[in-house]
């Protein structure tokens, strides 16, 4: 189930919860001074292994889109599956995590 977005009133102890499809309302409340609730930040969900596309290198890099969190997820999948050296190198650079405790072997 997708994360819900919680915002809190700028001065009063009042909160509202929004569904992910209510971004127009979230923007409206943020413009009026509401803030993401600290306990439930209005963040996008973390990528999971199932989110990583199974395809050619450009497809994977498009999905990563320079996001270190996505790069780390894709890196884990790549090391467990295709092990393409050039993709691993690029993902490591984006993830800023060149070793990650495992030594890679070029095929």
């Amino acid at each position: 189930m997708p994360d819900r977005i919680m915002l809190k009133h700028p001065s009063a102890n009042r909160r509202r919860t929004f569904s992910p499809h209510q971004t127009h309302l979230v923007e409206r409340y943020l413009a009026a001074g509401w803030e993401p609730d600290g306990e439930h930040p209005a963040a996008t969900p973390e990528p999971t292994l199932h989110d990583v596309p199974n395809g050619p290198i450009p497809t994977v890099l498009d999905w990563v889109s320079n996001d270190p969190e996505r790069a780390r997820t894709a890196l884990w999948v790549e090391r467990e599956t295709s092990r393409r050296p050039s993709l691993i190198a690029q993902l490591e650079r984006i993830a800023d995590d060149p070793h990650d405790g495992e030594k890679e072997t070029d095929l």
């Binding site: 009133h9 009063a12 309302l25 409206r28 413009a31 009026a32």
Partner: protein
């Protein structure tokens, strides 16, 4: 989740010609041009009845009458007390005037229940259709009811203050 009472002293209502540039984000200065009629609104005095219409979509071969969602009728009605010293509510409405109504259903979060930036509100815009005194009756405080047309789609999830999202 917290339920809230609908007329426990918190609701606030402001009425006037405005204008309000962005009905989704009425600004502090815009609300200041409206008249605070909260003290005149009766406990059951704010009604925003909506009626959705059906557009029939059945062929003759179908037993059940199917339909799709059609247009929506909105009827905003307000009932206020009359006052023999300061008849502010009565004098605020003139038949034919276009007015904005800003209603804080949950009340304001400022001192004394005053609205502050960030409070939820509803914004309606329409033309005053009528203002009708209630029938006189014993043991009853004098009041009147006014209805407004729907001149713009209402903003039922408006937020007061901040920077307008339309800019």
């Amino acid at each position: 989740m917290s339920r809230f009472a609908s007329a426990d002293g918190k609701p606030r209502i402001f009425v006037g010609a405005g204008p309000i540039a962005d009905m989704a984000n009425p600004q502090v200065g815009e609300l200041a041009t409206l008249t605070d009629l909260s003290a005149f609104l009766t406990k059951d005095g704010f009604s925003t009845g909506e009626t959705g219409n059906r557009a029939p979509a059945s062929g003759a071969a179908e037993q059940y009458n199917l339909d799709v969602a059609g247009s929506v009728n909105l009827s905003v009605a307000m009932t206020f007390f009359r006052d023999d010293e300061n008849d502010t509510a009565w004098e605020t409405f003139e038949r034919g005037d276009f007015i904005y109504v800003v209603f804080f259903r949950k009340g304001g979060t400022g001192p004394g229940g005053d609205p502050v930036e960030g409070d939820d509100c509803e914004v309606y815009y329409g033309q005053v259709l009528d203002k009708s005194n209630a029938d006189i009756a014993e043991n009853t405080v004098s009041r009147f009811t006014t209805n407004i047309s729907t001149a713009a789609a209402p903003e039922m999830d408006a937020v007061f203050g901040g920077s307008s999202s339309s800019s």
